[in-house]
């Protein structure tokens, strides 16, 4: 299934994202060997399904950390992890991490990644970062967990309300091992 881009003008080309639901998204993350979770500025401002977006981000980050994976916090996202334990975070600018991900040998935990998961990044910055990865990082798959559909990803949620977003994120969390 495909969806219209959240920003209606964002029609990049023939290759567009496949729409997934929360459970499938969780399974994609489970199936990846070394997923990298990248979270952005919307963690500080957004809500999903009546909860703070940061709460979902922290839960996902915790589960990934338990698998030895890293969460990159871009912009001011690190501020929501301030008193959180058991999470392996690193601070980088979004463009800095995307730049390095073009190198198939680079890993935030010193191991190459096979999946990059975006959540809560400014729409256009995320879209442009995903475009870089689509063209210049053929070794990677990309998934976004935002309520805004991203055609430049390999997998993306469809456009959805904040309510449905909360449910989808809950499904992701429940599915993650």
């Amino acid at each position: 299934m495909i969806s219209e881009a959240y920003k209606t003008g964002n029609v990049p080309g023939p290759l567009t994202a496949v729409v997934v639901d929360g459970r499938t998204a969780g399974e994609i993350i489970n199936a990846a060997k070394n997923p990298l979770f990248v979270v952005g500025s919307m963690l500080v401002t957004e809500e999903a399904g009546g909860r703070r977006l940061s709460e979902y981000a922290i839960e996902i980050a915790k589960r990934l950390s338990a698998r030895g994976c890293v969460t990159i916090t871009t912009a001011n996202a690190i501020s929501v992890f301030k008193d959180v334990k058991d999470v392996n975070t690193k601070i980088m600018g979004l463009v800095e991490v995307v730049d390095r991900l073009q190198d198939p040998n680079w890993g935030a935990n010193d191991k190459p990644h096979d999946l990059v998961v975006f959540l809560g990044i400014h729409y256009w910055m995320a879209s442009q970062g995903l475009a870089t990865l689509k063209h210049f990082a053929p070794h990677l798959r990309t998934l976004t967990l935002c309520f805004m559909h991203h055609p430049n990803a390999d997998w993306s949620f469809p456009n959805m309300s904040r309510e449905d977003w909360g449910k989808a994120l809950e499904e992701v969390v429940q599915t993650l091992r």
């Binding site: 912009a75 001011n76 210049f136």
Partner: protein
């Protein structure tokens, strides 16, 4: 020194207007340094460089800061071989791949910005020569003997009178031809060569801006680097709508200044209200600070026109909504367009009798095109005075009752939010408005760019922007503050005062807030960024829309930052430099420092001066609301001069950044011995996009660090970096090991925590003598022309 390039360059200097003695060029070739009269500054290696001549400098930059591409379109539809899909590693019919295609877009964008400033400069110089004569002296005041640093550095020319800019403009025009030719199918193919041309375009953009601003400063007597230029009234609320109102919009001061002249001549200054938007507003207030009022930046264009306040709208050039004339007609305001670059379909009435044009407009003609600024002035004033009583402030906005009913009609499909550049929460505001609460709509105003895109997407034709403006009517009417008039150059005198502290890093940096108003959040963020840096003792300079965004807000004491802070180019100074073209003075400041602090040769010596900026001079541009092609070429101008720039999130759609990687050491050279060593890359990036205001602030602090920071200077920069990290993120930065050279760089009050962090990161102090640390260049010894000239026994006076 090779002979060849000089001869080649000479050809490109033969123009009908060229005075060889003025250019200090001998017949047949540029003077060689040893031929220059004793005491005269020798010419550097690259006067009037062509598209290939500074490739060596660009290679240095692009090796350090690799182009980072983010295609916004996977397709190419540039020629009729295509349309071609370039996704991944596919190539187009012509052989072009996606990377080169981004380079080509980058060049197209930069050349568009450059051409706009070039054309603006050319039009201004021609008009000023026509009206004031060719001999208007280039006199920037006694405190600024180096009148045109960029012109000197790029071309080697020392302009004495306004017509001396003509050969410089000829040179830029020729270079634009070469740059545009490189874009054609089947020409350039290598991304780095595209980028070298992009950087060339940027440099020429800086030159164009300098010419435009110096010409208007000298011929129209704008402030010349005054530290306390007059305060100008700012904001929608300052406009007296009980008088006939003329609104000028754009970037070219010619029509606006003539309107002010006409009113003075006729004794009507008190009878007609003259206000302006965008850079025309800056420049009109530099011309007559007590008369011309500044309404605001581009985001206010439609808001103000729709409010119906203006009786006559005079449109000149650049960054003016292309449907603004329709907006004006809806509120029955008269429209005069004035630029050959934006004729907007109107009939050319330049040669028609004035009475006839006035009558046409009063009879309801949709608009007229008049190229003669004097005639524009007379028509605008006469029409405004006659039309105002008839319009009686035509109301273009819905009343409160209507807003409530319109909001009830909203079906909450959010098509508007998806179309809005900033995805503003319009649907929520509609829910509240339907219940009679307009506060949520009003809150959107300072985040709203005023584009009207939301309205074009609404299937129910709800006039969303008008509703926002009406809801915010009170706050807009109360928007009244003061901005310093654009001061123009940073003076050599100020540079002498600040050279030691800025050059050593003790003044931790100069933050330049420039560019458009396409902010990711509230306009207020620009004010907050400025305030943060002022309180930290940085020098804050601003131009264009950003300078206005700063003026819009007041601090806890009810003062704008312009009223609160001094206007000197020194720690804690808040300077409005002027309009977009005044950005040249910010770049020029670093050139002045290289001359004052290190006596570097300016003329024709681009790479060395740019290296000085890059390796010594702590500064960072922030283009938080980047939108236009000009903003891209201005950023690129900074980049070729070695100045890092941070863009707001929308800047990611420019498709290209210049990013470094801190973990990859890069070669540097000792300026005296030429000895090479590998160093941590500094500054870390040349063109970066930040996602949040906080990220922009901490990154700008970091990007103000330089190889040549003295210990005290680096210590101060580290202090701000760590402090800002704690303030915004509640923790230590993770990259200190790249920034701290030795324990001496660590501020004493944070010594323990920093050392602990450094230990965790496996930090080792650099084992180098202090002097070795601060004599660094990114250029090899023989490319540092000042030292080469000295080795050849040349001696000269520096201004």
């Amino acid at each position: 020194m090779k002979e060849g390039p000089f001869n080649a360059r000479l050809k490109s200097l033969r123009t009908p207007n060229l005075s060889l003695s003025d250019l200090e060029i001998s017949i047949g070739r540029v003077k060689r340094p040893e031929e220059v009269a004793e005491g005269e500054e020798p010419m550097g290696p690259t006067p009037m460089p062509g598209i290939k001549d500074l490739r060596y400098w660009d290679e240095i930059l692009l090796r350090r800061y690799k182009p980072f591409y983010s295609p916004i379109c996977d397709m190419c539809c540039f020629c009729v071989f295509g349309k071609c899909d370039l996704t991944g590693n596919k190539k187009g019919v012509c052989g072009m791949d996606i990377r080169a295609q981004q380079g080509r877009w980058s060049l197209l964008t930069a050349v568009t910005g450059l051409s706009t400033h070039f054309s603006h400069a050319k039009e201004l110089v021609e008009w000023l020569i026509e009206t004031k004569g060719p001999d208007v002296p280039i006199d920037m005041g006694e405190k600024t003997p180096v009148e045109a640093p960029i012109t000197r550095v790029v071309t080697g020319i020392v302009p004495k009178k306004i017509s001396d800019f003509e050969p410089v403009l000829d040179y830029i025009g020729r270079e634009i031809g070469d740059l545009v030719a490189s874009i054609h199918i089947g020409q350039e193919s290598d991304p780095l060569d595209f980028e070298s041309k992009v950087l060339h375009a940027g440099m020429l953009d800086a030159l164009s801006m300098e010419i435009a601003d110096i010409a208007q400063i000298c011929a129209l007597d704008f402030p010349k680097g005054e530290i306390e230029p007059p305060l100008v009234e700012f904001g929608v609320g300052t406009v007296d709508i009980n008088k006939p109102v003329i609104l000028c919009i754009g970037h070219n001061v010619a029509p606006g200044s003539e309107i002010l002249n006409y009113l003075e001549e006729k004794g009507l200054t008190d009878s007609v209200e003259v206000c302006a938007l965008c850079c025309t507003a800056h420049d009109m207030s530099r011309y007559r600070s007590k008369v011309a009022k500044i309404v605001g930046p581009i985001s206010k264009q439609k808001k103000f026109v729709r409010s119906g306040f203006a009786d006559v709208v005079v449109i000149d050039e650049q960054c003016i909504y292309t449907d603004l004339q329709e907006e004006a007609r809806k509120v029955k305001a008269a429209v005069i367009v004035t630029s050959p670059k934006a004729m907007r379909g109107f009939p050319d009435r330049t040669n028609a009798p004035t009475d006839e044009i006035v009558k046409e407009l009063l009879d309801g003609a949709p608009g007229v095109l008049i190229f003669d600024p004097e005639k524009v002035a007379e028509v605008a004033v006469r029409v405004a005075m006659e039309l105002a009583p008839r319009r009686q402030k035509y109301k273009g906005l819905p009343d409160v009752e209507k807003i409530v009913s319109l909001a009830k009609y909203c079906k909450h499909c959010k098509a508007c939010e998806r179309a809005c550049p900033n995805s503003l929460k319009i649907s929520d505001a509609m829910y509240a408005a339907a219940d009679g609460d307009l506060s949520k709509l009003a809150e959107l105003e300072d985040k709203c760019f005023g584009c009207g895109k939301c309205e074009t997407e609404c299937s129910r034709n709800i006039p969303i922007l008008s509703m926002i403006v009406k809801a915010a009517e009170r706050q807009l009417k109360e928007e009244r503050s003061k901005i310093r008039a654009g001061r123009g150059p940073i003076t050599d005198y100020e540079m002498r005062m600040v050279a030691d502290t800025w050059g050593s890093g003790i003044v931790p940096g100069c933050i330049a807030l420039v560019g458009c108003a396409n902010y990711p959040g509230s306009e207020r963020e620009v004010f907050e960024i400025a305030k943060e840096f002022l309180e930290r003792g940085y020098i804050v300079v601003a131009t264009g829309c950003a300078a206005m965004a700063i003026a819009r807000y007041k601090d806890e004491d009810g003062k704008t930052l312009y009223e609160k802070h001094h206007g000197i180019f020194d720690a804690g100074g808040m300077l409005n430099v002027g309009s977009c073209v005044s950005n040249a003075h910010i770049i020029a400041a670093g050139i002045r420092l290289a001359v004052v602090f290190a006596r570097r040769i300016m003329r024709g010596n681009f790479a060395e001066i740019a290296d000085y900026w890059l390796s010594r001079t702590g500064a960072c541009g922030i283009v938080w609301g980047a939108m236009s092609q000009k903003a891209y070429s201005i950023a690129t101008a900074c980049n070729r001069f070695g100045i890092p720039v941070i863009l707001g999130p929308h800047g990611s759609k420019y498709r290209r950044l210049y990013l470094g990687r801190r973990e990859e050491p890069t070669p540097v050279y000792n300026v005296k011995t030429g000895k090479r060593r590998d160093e941590v890359l500094m500054p870390e990036h040349l063109l970066y996009v930040a996602e949040s205001k906080e990220e922009a602030i901490v990154t700008a602090i970091k990007l103000c660090m330089r190889y040549n920071d003295f210990t005290e200077g680096r210590r101060s920069k580290i202090r701000h970096y760590v402090d800002a990290y704690f303030k915004f993120f509640g923790r230590m930065p993770e990259d200190l090991k790249y920034l701290v050279r030795s324990e001496d760089d660590i501020p004493s009050e944070m010594r323990e925590v920093v050392l602990e962090e450094l230990k965790r990161e496996g930090w080792e102090p650099r084992k180098l003598p202090q002097q070795e640390l601060v004599d660094v260049s990114t250029l090899e010894k023989e490319k540092l022309w000042t030292f080469e000239a000295m080795r050849r026994g040349l001696r000269w006076f520096t201004v």
